[in-house]
Symmetry: C2
Subunit: 355 residues, 2 copies
Amino acid sequence: MKRTGEMSKSSPSAVSGRAQQLLKLLVERYIREGQPIGSRTLARGLGMDLSPASIRNVMADLEDMGLIKAPHTSAGRIPTVQGYRLFVDSLLTVKPLEQCEVHALRDKFGQTADPQQVLVTASSLLSEVSSMAGVIMVPRREQATVRQVEFVSLSDNRVLVVLVLSGHEVQNRVIHTSRRYSPSELTQAANYLNHALSGKDFNKVRDALLNEMRETQENINQLMMAAIEMANRTFQGAEEGGDYVLAGQTNLMAYAEMADIERLRLLFEAFNRKRDILHLLDQSLHAQGVQIFIGEESGYEVLDSCSVVTSPYEVEGEVVGVLGVIGPTRMAYDRLIPLVDVTARLLGAALNQTQ
Amino acid sequence: MKRTGEMSKSSPSAVSGRAQQLLKLLVERYIREGQPIGSRTLARGLGMDLSPASIRNVMADLEDMGLIKAPHTSAGRIPTVQGYRLFVDSLLTVKPLEQCEVHALRDKFGQTADPQQVLVTASSLLSEVSSMAGVIMVPRREQATVRQVEFVSLSDNRVLVVLVLSGHEVQNRVIHTSRRYSPSELTQAANYLNHALSGKDFNKVRDALLNEMRETQENINQLMMAAIEMANRTFQGAEEGGDYVLAGQTNLMAYAEMADIERLRLLFEAFNRKRDILHLLDQSLHAQGVQIFIGEESGYEVLDSCSVVTSPYEVEGEVVGVLGVIGPTRMAYDRLIPLVDVTARLLGAALNQTQ
DNA sequence: GTTTAGCACTCCTTCTATATGAGTGCTAAC
DNA sequence: GTTAGCACTCATATAGAAGGAGTGCTAAAC
């Protein structure tokens, strides 16, 4: 599934000032209109007085450098991946969000308190504002620690096990026990576990704890085993690469460049499978600021006609996840970059408050 | 969005034996091959020796009755919604699942213990076996009661509120309190609430409780208010029509009859919106056994080219939800009906065990 | 009365030919 | 270095013709 990118066939050498200006105009225009741009159109759009013929010369150079290409002989040119890359890296003039837009976003964030809900809100927001798909990695539990364990007695022989994890995530499960436990037994078991587990790296103390329990053979073991097994499963899941929240898949179906339903199906299946997308997001985890994968750059075939704009987000000064938007290669990078950037900050801030 | 169905234009009168036999063959064949069936093909498939011309006469009758139609003058015939309806109601010979298939399904169910997880498994199962979309309404909390409330003290001024609801669902949320509460205060508050709430219909006691609290003005109110607010939100959510788990959307993208990407987009958006689909599923809640909505019968435009096969499922002898598959009108009803039926039973059984 | 062969007719599909037009690359002149 | 001119390419659109699947109708056969 993963592939290595190919490089431009010609020298990626210095591009003359005018050629750059032209490329910029071409990419901007193509992003706006979605159709191959011809020399005549470009000549009109350009400020200076240059004939289409001159433009054609420059365009031929750009094509040699692998920055633009013609879908067929008598069409205009469209940017290649390398063209987009150069555009994004050195030609792009970003359009910062308006103050009111930022405020609108901030307001939306303000409304929700539940951490999980914040992620859902944020991904919906990303997808709505961008008209593409918004994706947010759920925050990684940086160190695998259990903060607190509680046992709550229910009716019959059922006990509710509550695990409070680092990062204030709470997990619970009802277990059926072989006998009824008194409240004091439950407290005792909880105290024991809390003392043994709290603050320590779970993976390190787990085995010691299990051994100890095997020796003492206490019959409240059943409860503790359940708790440990729960924690185990949780942390194992986390190690296996985490999870993400996705919104606005359907937005992608409205783009003409996504019309191939079979390709789209494969993309959606990749979304469901999650693995590939997570790997991609992981790559941005330790980048600072916004990162962009254009077309085949991502290395995943299903994303060949897509670009992904990502940004890591921080909670309490530490990067805990990545968020981004996914859409057709022909996307409004100038608007999306600040959008993703701002959303990452807002999400971090919102998650800080729920801690 | 909701519409009323139109009826057949001609008399839905008695259909002769041979005509029925022919219709059956036609529908079966069309479901298998997906292309309009002509008189010649039908004559060959039919056991008895009849010339295409004779068949044509019968087909003309069937068309007059609104049971089949021709996409255009010189194509064969395809079933109309009414044709499918008659087929499903009185002509269909269901293909019960093989014993080994049933066992395979049962095995899959056996593996999961968490109720929420069971729903996910079951919907995936439905979608995989049917190669269409599988949908499962989450079990309805029949009466809105809170079984138990617990407060767990966390570090700082944070308290974890745990709500155990009827149906063994557990909800939790961390709240920030204005001051630190002692363990005995927490127990006291929990006891108070448990006494007031447990087993009673929440909506009935809520207001009385709130009034009482306003009078006593105890400052542990903050905790109790939070708990009540949580319960309120939960039950309100339940009253607003519940929720469902969906799997295998992408399967639908592989069908030729779903090739229109814009229609598909609208369908997927309806899936996200949930409301319409929930309304539809609700209609099957009090039907006994499998129910089928063919094409426009559902009354929702987005489902015009789809059929939905549903069945309610029971926990402890009481219907708590509906499950089903959604796919193109041209679906293998004979296989799907038993599949949905069996899955409903298995789901009920699996949920019984997790109680 | 039912069945069937025959036949004209419809209309989708495919193929071919042709025109149109947008846009190019190249050359030669400015 | 720039540009006008021109031949060339190729996607797109349109029209006509051939082919074929399937129908409806009529009249004859059973």
